[in-house]
């Protein structure tokens, strides 16, 4: 008999599914209508297109609204709600929960496209039908990603309105569903604690807006090829392209900031495949945007502009495919799982790739070619070179990141480079150097022909002062790697060159300074990246005083320090002490204080609380804590800690072991290393109450603790009246260590040493890594300046084009 389940809210899903289908159909109708409108110039078709896109907009907003309603009310009868939330989840994580899964992130992407589409409907004028055809077709594909239907065996989309018990294959026939009121007993899995972080609230929408913005120049480029209006698209597409550069770039750097603050690899960029996947389309977009500008002002570089703009959108799709298909599974720590939609994504990607290539090939003969070559000393030539550097840099990253895909396609068995950071840096550093030098002087060139001598005179001072600064800073930072020095020079030159451009050429006309400000920012960003990473100082390295190099060269990469609770150790100009832990919910925080030694003893400077998040979904996740100063950051990360602190109530000693030692031999205790320094005839017989006939032998033992302090212990072995033995043990209270001289072997001079440890001595400890990143604020400041500079130039461009 069918069970009548209680308290379910199935109407939400039913309504939702109607709107999912409606959004798909409306996008299809819009695509077709705009297509006919463009082909026939029939305004009534265009109106149908506009109306359909409005219906599509309404449907998408309704779907999103219903999903938020379901999340906020904890309707666990829906698999998607059950999977991403729980009844105890704080409401402020509602947004993060929404885009944690694929369905939500596709909807976020769709949402931005819808917003953009509605702006285009008002601004695209005579480009409207053609551009909206492209955008509506993209919307059709995106809407299908949340469809969740099967055609034969091929699953199309993953539907967020799937019911937990009826439609989800994993959960059918679970015994709990025999209970008609199962909703009373069920709670959601909850949002992955790793994403319960404010970065996860702001980083995804910005990044997805960046993704979404690549569609606009792409749609214009396709429309231009379609309409054979090869030049008319520059003007409307240019502000969109640069807006995309700013937002997309901002999203990437936010990802870097999140990684730096919350992830444990140390640094803001690790060349992780997922990071690379987002960087690659951004690089081509930057190249493409500059090429549009050259084409607009000069008429050359047309083909390259088409290629890079089209490529940016295709690469956004490829990047989605890489991160969502599970193909990166073994190479990345944060690749997503496959929801069985990689085939669909691939079809989507190939459709636009083939369409774009076919259009370009078809129109190739028709494309206007510039008759004369660009002059060597002209702005357009060096902008072109710069754009190509962006392209080749993107190609190199894309190729190495695609190794798992190459393996799949060609059946090879390549693994990614064993040291990805060194691999990518070895290619990207030279690219960056060339690019920054080009960026430093290009603005000083006018479009068309320039004379070399007056141009060189303009940049001479900047060149000379950059060289001088490089020398000074290079010596101060002890930079020896020639590439780092070149990079230092190049980024300084970009900053100085563009500052001087604002000052001398623009004479402070701030309206036109957007580009130069963005270039100054980019130079600072690169400078900050170079200095903070190349001069980063791992201050936690090998302060333990325990020589481990005896284990061989392979063990020299000491970057961790052992800190016992209460101990104070010198570290990088500070003294550092571990003050114990506090547990708060799923967080175990380790209190680490940094002190300075003064005449009045240790003065606390600041405290940090790196923590471990007890996450039963992802495994326990450590998160560093960083102290920010104006000129440097101190990054502190607990790499290892026992999660159950040792008990300290016990008293007394327990025997650890008995070691047989000769002079010079070493024995290990839990928190100390002992070396038998000497054996001598004991003195101080009086204190021990010895008579003349008694023999006392004392062992002098040098004890190294992990605070690099040296202690001495002198246990004595007493032979009383030549007949019975009385060992007199020696103790060190602070180390909780007791040693007794048990026996002496008269033949080889070895002694038996009993080592005991205080039961209370097993103190809590953490293994910690601390790194100083100097001048990393240059990087953040540079990134902000870059974004502001670009946005400002977009703003002035829109304003002047309207005037």
């Amino acid at each position: 008999m069918e069970i009548q389940y209680l308290n379910e809210h199935l109407w939400v899903g039913q309504v939702g599914n109607v709107f999912v289908i409606l959004s798909l159909m409306a996008a299809l109708v819009a695509t077709i209508s705009f297509f006919i409108a463009q082909s026939t110039k029939d305004v009534s078709w265009e109106n149908i297109g506009v109306q359909s896109f409005r219906v599509h907009t309404l449907a998408v907003f309704t779907v999103i609204g219903l999903l938020f309603f379901m999340l906020a009310n904890h309707y666990f009868e829906y698999h998607w709600v059950w999977y991403h939330t729980s009844s105890t989840m704080p409401i402020r994580y509602l947004l993060s929960a929404f885009w944690e899964g694929q369905e939500g992130s596709f909807l976020l992407w769709t949402f931005w496209h819808v917003v953009i589409g509605n702006v285009l409907i008002y601004t695209a004028k005579n480009w409207r039908p053609s551009v909206m055809t492209v955008l509506s077709s993209v919307q059709f594909f995106l809407a299908s990603m949340i469809l969740g239907i099967y055609i034969i065996d091929f699953k199309i989309g993953s539907n967020p309105f799937t019911q937990l018990l009826r439609e989800h294959p994993d959960f059918a026939n679970l015994p709990m569903f025999a209970n008609a009121n199962y909703l009373e007993t069920i709670d959601g899995r909850g949002l992955n604690p790793l994403l319960q972080n404010y970065w996860m609230t702001i980083h995804p929408p910005i990044t997805f807006l960046g993704y979404a913005l690549t569609v606009v120049p792409f749609a214009y480029a396709i429309a231009a090829l379609w309409r054979k209006d090869y030049r008319g698209w520059f003007k409307p597409a240019l502000p969109w392209a640069y807006f995309g550069v700013a937002i997309f770039g901002g999203g990437i750097i936010m990802g870097g900031a999140w990684a730096y603050e919350a992830l444990s690899f140390g640094g803001f960029w690790a060349w992780d495949p997922v990071e690379n996947a987002s960087l690659v389309p951004w690089l081509t977009l930057v190249g493409g945007a500059h090429l549009i500008m050259i084409s607009k002002n000069k008429g050359s570089s047309l083909l390259a502009a088409f290629a890079l703009i089209i490529l940016s959108f295709i690469l956004v799709l490829y990047s989605t495919f890489l991160t969502r298909s599970g193909v990166l599974g073994e190479t990345s720590v944060h690749a997503f799982t496959d929801l069985g939609m990689s085939g669909q994504l691939l079809i989507y990607l190939l459709f636009y790739l083939v369409l774009a290539i076919a259009l370009v090939v078809w129109r190739y003969k028709d494309l206007p070619k510039s008759k004369q070559e660009d002059h060597l000393w002209s702005r357009e030539f060096w902008m072109f070179v710069g754009s190509l550097i962006f392209m080749i840099s993107s190609f190199q990253i894309a190729f190495t990141t695609s190794i798992p895909v190459i393996n799949k396609v060609f059946g090879t068995n390549m693994a990614p480079p064993t040291d990805p950071i060194a691999h990518y840096n070895s290619w990207q550093l030279p690219f960056a150097v060339l690019l920054l030098i080009v960026m430093g002087f290009t603005l000083f060139l006018k479009y068309k022909k320039n004379e070399f001598a007056p141009f060189f005179k303009k940049i001479f001072i900047e060149l000379a002062s950059s060289l001088l600064l490089t020398g000074v800073v290079g010596v101060l930072l002890k930079l020896q790697n020639p590439f780092y020095l070149l990079m230092l020079f190049a980024s300084t030159f970009t900053v100085l060159g563009n500052l001087s451009y604002i000052n001398s050429v623009l004479k402070g006309k701030i309206k036109k300074a957007g580009a130069a400000v963005a270039h100054v920012g980019f130079g600072m960003l690169m400078l900050g990246a170079l200095v903070s990473m190349s001069s980063s100082d791992t201050i936690s390295s090998n302060t333990s005083g325990v020589d481990v190099s005896q284990l061989g060269d392979d063990f020299s990469n000491n970057e961790n320090i052992l800190l016992l609770e209460g101990d104070t150790l010198p570290m990088g100009g500070y003294y550092v002490t571990y003050q114990g832990r506090e547990k708060e919910g799923i967080y175990v925080r380790f209190k680490v204080d940094y002190l300075k030694k003064t005449e009045n003893g240790y003065q606390p400077q600041f405290g940090l609380k790196p923590f471990v998040q007890l996450n039963d979904r992802m495994g326990n996740v450590p998160e560093p804590d960083t102290k920010h100063f104006l000129t440097r950051d101190i990054y502190t990360h607990v790499t290892y800690a026992t999660l159950d602190p040792p008990k300290t109530q016990d008293e007394g000693f327990k025997e650890l072991k008995v070691e047989t030692l000769a002079v010079g031999d070493t024995a290990y205790a839990t928190n100390a290393i002992m070396v038998l320094d000497n054996i001598f005839r004991g003195t101080g017989g009086k204190e021990l109450g010895l008579s003349e006939s008694d023999i006392a032998i004392t062992a002098r033992i040098k004890v190294f603790d992990f605070n690099t302090k040296t202690h001495f212990l002198q246990p004595t072995f007493v032979l009383k009246d030549s007949s019975y033995i009385v060992p007199v043990p020696a103790e060190n209270e602070s180390l909780g260590l007791r040693v007794s001289f048990e026996r002496i072997n008269t033949e080889n001079g070895k002694i038996d040493l009993k080592i005991e440890e205080s039961k209370a001595a097993k103190r809590d400890f953490v293994i910690m890594k601390a790194v100083i990143y100097p001048y990393i604020n240059l990087l953040w400041l540079g990134a902000i300046l870059t974004v502001i500079g670009i946005l400002f130039s977009v703003y002035t461009r829109i304003k002047t084009s309207k005037a």
Binding site: N413, L551, P622
Partner: protein
């Protein structure tokens, strides 16, 4: 020769260089047999933790040394020296990818990637105590 041709040639040369560079920098997935017969090369070795043998981490001696035994996908067992702190949750790992090279009888790993079962697995609902009544 036109400037655009020079640029094109340079571009193609750099692109080929990038492909060659990427392939030559790429590592190889290998088993222990291969890694131990080429001790001078770094490999990616995939395998599983041998849970019957001890794992040793003594931070008081060396915070950057963690040793354990791993079985590669052919079932060959080797002792592994990981020259880093013991990863959190190591025991939960289902699959391990080591990056490093063979040295004498041990595999010295510089880097480790772990896959934990729960990370990717789809959970099934469990009955939990009734929600707080509203």
């Amino acid at each position: 020769m036109k400037k655009s041709h020079i640029i094109l040639i340079v571009l193609i040369a750099v692109a080929i260089g990038a492909i060659v560079g990427s392939i030559s920098d790429s590592s190889t997935y290998a088993d222990f047999d291969k890694a131990f017969s080429n001790p001078e090369r770094e490999y990616h070795v995939v395998g599983q933790l041998n849970r019957d043998k001890p794992t040793v981490y003594e931070p008081e001696k060396n915070a950057d040394l963690f040793t354990f035994y791993m079985l590669d996908n052919n079932g060959v067992e080797k002792e592994v020296f990981l020259t880093k702190a013991k990863p959190q949750d190591f025991e939960r790992s289902e699959q391990i990818v080591l990056i490093g090279k063979a040295k004498d009888d041990v595999f010295v790993a510089r880097e480790i990637l772990m896959k934990c079962p729960s990370k990717y697995e789809d959970g099934t609902p469990e009955e939990t105590p009734a929600k707080a009544s509203i």
